[in-house]
C-alpha cells in the first residue's frame, strides 16, 4: 500500500534508505560525541546557569 503511492516518483527507493542512513549516522555520531565529551568541558557547560 505504502509503496504504491510512491511508485510514481522516479528513484524514490533511494530516499528512505538515504534518510535512514542520515538518521542513523547522525545519532551514532551524537552518541560517540556525548560519550567522549571532555569532563572539564562538560562541567563548564553544566555550571553555566549557576554562574551569575
Amino acid at each position: 500500500m505504502f509503496k504504491h503511492y510512491f511508485e510514481q516518483i522516479e528513484g524514490i527507493s533511494i530516499y528512505p534508505v538515504f534518510s535512514l542512513l542520515v538518521f542513523f549516522f547522525f545519532f551514532v555520531g551524537l552518541g560517540f560525541y556525548v560519550f567522549s565529551l571532555d569532563k572539564k568541558k562538560r562541567e563548564h557547560l553544566e555550571n553555566l546557569p549557576l554562574e551569575d
Partner: protein, 712 residues
C-alpha cells in the same frame, strides 16, 4: 576548551547589563492574560452544563469563545512567560546584554497588540476555524513580523555573546524560534477575500494534514521546547546544582526535535487521511516517549540527593509537579496515538483532560515556579508569604486533579455508550443526547477543579504584588566577563563542539531536522492524486451553501461538531456511510473537528426537514429536550450579507474550485433563488421567514452536508 579558557583569561573584563524591565513587562502581561484566558475557560466550562451562561449574546457563545480561550492561554499566558524567561536567562547564559532594547520593546508591544486583535476579532466571529491558528490573515502577517523581530534580537544577542559555548537551554530556544516560524507560515497560507476573510491554500485532507502538522507542533515547539529550555535553566538554579546529566540533555534535544515533527497525523487516526500517513504518525508518536521521558528524568534526577529541599523550597515544589505533569502527558500522548486507544478517546473529553495536564500542570506550574523565583530576586526582597505560596501549590495541584479526573471518567463513559450495541444488534443509545446528559454532572465537577486552580492564581497575584511592594525593583543588573577572542584555534573537541560555537550552522541543522518530517508527509499527499481519490458526484458548494458554510465557520460550530465519520460499525450505524477523502476536495478550510460535544454532522444533510433545523437553531431544547447546545436567535433575525459573495467565488476559482468563468456575477441571484426555495419549504411547515435571513443559508449548507455521494 583548555586553550579557549586560557585565551579568554588574558582578555580584558568587559562590563554589560541585564535588562530586567522587559522581563517584568512580559511577566505582568503573562499573568494578566493568564487570568483572562482562565476566566474565559471557566465560563466555557460552565456553559457546558448551563448554556445560558453565554448571556444569549453572539459574542460570548461557546463556539466563538473557545478559540479565545485557547489562544489566550497558549499565546498570551504561556507565550508572554516564555518571552520573559528567554529575555531573562539568555543574556545570563551568553554573558551579554540583549542586542537591542528597542527591538525588545517592539516585540513586547507588537505581541500585546496581536493578542488584543485576537481578543477583538475572535468574539466577532472572524476566524479561519483552524485550531490554534484561528486568527485571520492580517494578524497572521503581524505575528510573522513580530516573530522575525524577536528572532533578530535573539540571534544578534547570541552573536555578541562572551561565552563561547551555548548552554542546552539556548538550543531549545533556537529550535523554538525557527520551527514556530516555519509552522506558522506554512499553515497560515491563504488567499484573502477581504481584510477579515480568507480561504485556506489547502483543501480537505491536505488542509487537515497541514493543520495537524501545525497543531501538534505548536504543542511541541510553543508549549514544550521553550519550557524545556526554561527547565534546564531555572531548575538547576533553584536547586543550586547542575542538571543531572548534561550528556543526556544533548541527546534529549536532538532526538526530541527530530521525532516530534513527524507525529502530527496522530490527530487524524481513522479519518480519511491516507493510511501510510496515519501509520507514520503513530510510529513516531510512540518513539517520542523516549526523548520526552529522557528530559523528564533529567529534570527530576537533578534533585537526586536533594529531595529534602523540595519539602522546604516552594519554587522546587512547583517545578517537580510541572515536570511530573510533563511526564504524565508525554506518556499519555503516545498511548493516545495507538489506533486502538484513539478509537475510544478521540472526539471525547479525554483529549481535553490530556491537554489540561499539559497546560495547567506543565506550563502553568513552570510559570508559577519561575514567577516565585524571579519576583523576589528582581525586587531584591523575600517572598511576602511562604504559607500563601504553599496554599497556592496545594489548591493548584488539587485543582488539576479535580479538573482532569471527571473528564477521564466522562470520556470513558460516553465513548463506551457510543459504542454499545443491544443483543439485537441495535445501538444501545441511539440518541446522542443521552450520552451527553449522562456526563453533565462530571462537567460540573470539572468547573469546580478549574475554579480551584484559578483561586490559586489570584492568591499568587496577591502574594506577588505584596512582595513587589515591600521590595525595590532592580531595573538593571550589571555583570562582567572577558570578551570572546575571535578566530581562536581550538584543538580537539569534535564536531559537536564546533556546532555549539557556530550558532548559525547549528540553527541550519535544526531547521533540516524539523523540515524533513513535514516534507515527507506532506509532499506525497499534495502531489500524488491516488492519495485523495476523487469522486465524480462531489460538486462545489452552491453560492448559498458557501455562505452558510462561512456562517458555520463564524459561529465556531466546529468546536463541538465533527464532520468525519470513522469507519466503525457504531459510527456508520449512528451517522451513516463513513467519510471518504474525495468528499472534502472543495472544503477550504476542512471542518473535520476534534471534539464531539454534539453529534457528527457529516451526513446530517437530508436527515431532518428544513423546519427542524430552523426550530433547533432558535431553541435546541424544542427539538432535543435536555440539549446543552446554545440557541442562535440572531441567525433568525439577521439578514445574510452577500456583498462579498462574488469575490468569494472568484477566490475559490483561483484556488482551483471549478466554478465557471463569470459565475461570480450570477452568484447572488443563484443564492437568492435557492434561498427562496428553502423559505418556501419552511412556509409549508408554517414557519414564516424571509429568504434573506442567515438561518436560510445555514440550513442550505447543513442540508447539503454529506449528500453528494448518495447521488451515485
Amino acid at each position: 576548551m583548555q586553550n579557549s579558557t586560557q585565551q579568554s583569561s588574558v582578555g580584558v573584563l568587559e562590563q554589560f547589563e541585564y535588562d530586567n524591565k522587559i522581563v517584568k513587562a512580559f511577566l505582568i502581561a503573562s499573568v494578566v492574560y493568564g487570568v483572562i484566558g482562565m476566566l474565559v475557560g471557566l465560563t466555557l466550562a460552565i456553559q457546558l452544563f448551563l448554556p445560558e451562561a453565554n448571556f444569549e449574546n453572539p459574542h460570548t457563545t461557546f463556539g466563538r469563545l473557545r478559540p479565545l480561550h485557547t489562544n489566550a492561554v497558549i499565546f498570551a499566558f504561556v507565550g508572554n512567560a516564555m518571552f520573559a524567561g528567554i529575555y531573562h536567562s539568555s543574556p545570563r547564559l551568553l554573558k551579554t546584554a540583549i542586542f537591542s532594547k528597542t527591538l525588545s520593546w517592539i516585540h513586547f508591544w507588537g505581541w500585546q497588540l496581536i493578542i488584543l486583535a485576537a481578543a477583538i476579532t475572535l468574539p466577532l466571529g472572524l476566524s479561519t476555524s483552524k485550531e490554534y491558528a484561528e486568527l485571520e490573515w492580517p494578524i497572521d502577517i503581524a505575528i510573522a513580523v513580530i516573530w522575525v523581530i524577536f528572532a533578530i534580537n535573539f540571534f544578534a544577542t547570541v552573536a555578541r555573546r562572551r561565552e563561547r559555548h551555548m548552554y542546552v537551554a539556548i538550543w531549545f530556544y533556537i529550535g523554538t524560534i525557527v520551527t514556530v516560524a516555519l509552522l506558522h507560515i506554512v499553515n497560515s497560507l491563504a488567499l484573502p477575500v477581504t481584510l477579515t476573510k480568507s480561504y485556506s491554500m489547502y483543501a480537505g485532507v491536505q488542509d487537515a494534514l497541514v493543520q495537524w502538522w501545525y497543531g501538534h507542533n505548536a504543542v511541541a515547539f510553543f508549549l514544550t521546547t521553550p519550557y524545556l529550555g526554561l527547565m534546564y535553566y531555572y531548575l538547576p538554579k533553584a536547586a543550586n546544582r547542575p542538571v543531572f546529566s548534561y550528556k543526556l540533555s544533548i541527546i534529549h534535544f536532538w532526538s526530541l526535535i527530530f521525532i516530534y515533527i513527524w507525529a502530527g497525523p496522530h490527530h487524524l487516526l481513522y479519518t480519511s487521511l491516507p493510511d501510510w500517513a496515519q501509520s507514520l504518525g503513530t510510529v513516531f508518536s510512540v518513539m517520542l516517549i523516549a526523548p520526552s521521558w529522557g528530559g523528564m528524568l533529567n529534570g527530576l534526577l537533578t534533585l537526586r540527593g536533594a529531595w529534602d529541599k523540595v519539602r522546604e523550597d516552594n519554587v522546587l515544589k512547583f517545578f517537580v509537579v510541572a515536570v511530573t505533569a510533563y511526564g504524565m502527558a508525554t506518556f499519555e500522548g503516545p498511548m493516545l496515538s495507538l489506533k486502538n486507544v484513539s478509537a475510544i478517546a478521540h472526539y471525547t473529553d479525554w483529549i481535553i483532560a490530556h491537554v489540561h495536564i499539559g497546560a495547567l500542570g506543565w506550563n502553568g506550574f513552570m510559570i508559577f515556579g519561575i514567577l516565585y523565583y524571579l519576583v523576589p530576586r528582581m525586587w531584591k526582597t523575600e517572598i511576602y508569604s511562604k504559607s500563601l505560596v504553599s496554599f497556592h501549590f496545594w489548591i493548584g495541584t488539587l485543582g488539576i486533579i479535580f479538573y482532569a479526573l471527571p473528564l477521564y471518567w466522562a470520556s470513558l463513559t460516553q465513548s463506551l455508550m457510543w459504542k454499545e450495541f443491544t443483543a439485537d444488534g441495535f445501538l444501545a443509545y441511539p440518541n446522542f443526547l443521552e450520552t451527553v446528559t449522562k456526563i453533565v454532572p462530571l462537567y460540573m465537577m470539572r468547573a469546580v477543579g478549574g475554579t480551584m486552580y484559578l483561586t490559586g492564581v489570584f492568591i499568587m497575584i496577591y502574594n506577588l504584588v505584596k512582595t513587589a511592594a515591600q521590595g525595590t525593583f532592580v531595573s538593571t543588573e550589571y555583570s562582567q566577563a572577558p570578551a570572546l577572542q575571535r578566530n581562536v584555534n581550538i584543538i580537539g573537541g569534535g564536531w559537536h563542539t564546533l556546532l555549539e560555537r557556530k550558532p548559525f550552522i547549528f540553527t541550519g541543522l535544526a531547521i533540516v531536522a524539523v523540515a524533513i518530517g513535514g516534507i515527507v508527509e506532506f509532499v506525497p499527499t499534495a502531489l500524488i492524486k491516488s492519495n485523495v481519490p476523487t469522486i465524480a458526484s462531489v460538486k462545489p458548494y452552491t453560492p448559498l451553501e458557501l455562505t452558510g458554510r462561512d456562517i458555520y465557520i463564524r459561529e465556531g460550530c466546529v468546536g463541538c461538531h465533527s464532520q468525519m465519520i470513522r469507519p466503525f460499525r457504531d459510527e456508520t450505524e449512528r451517522y451513516g456511510e463513513y467519510s471518504k477523502a474525495g468528499e472534502f476536495v472543495y472544503d477550504r478550510p476542512f471542518l473535520w473537528g476534534s471534539k464531539r460535544t454534539g453529534p457528527d454532522l457529516h451526513r446530517v444533510g437530508g436527515k431532518y426537514p428544513d423546519s427542524w433545523h430552523f426550530n433547533h437553531m432558535l431553541d435546541p431544547t424544542s427539538m432535543s429536550p435536555g440539549s446543552i447546545m446554545p440557541s442562535y436567535p440572531w441567525l433568525i433575525d439577521d439578514n445574510t450579507d452577500y456583498s462579498d459573495l462574488p469575490k468569494k467565488i472568484k477566490v475559490m476559482r483561483q484556488l482551483g474550485v471549478p466554478y465557471e468563468e463569470g459565475f461570480e456575477n450570477e452568484a447572488i441571484a443563484d443564492a437568492e433563488k435557492q434561498a427562496a426555495q428553502i423559505a418556501k419549504s419552511l412556509g409549508k411547515d408554517k414557519i414564516k421567514t424571509s429568504k434573506d435571513k442567515e438561518i436560510i443559508a445555514l440550513i442550505a449548507y447543513l442540508q447539503r452536508l454529506g449528500t453528494d455521494i448518495k447521488q451515485k
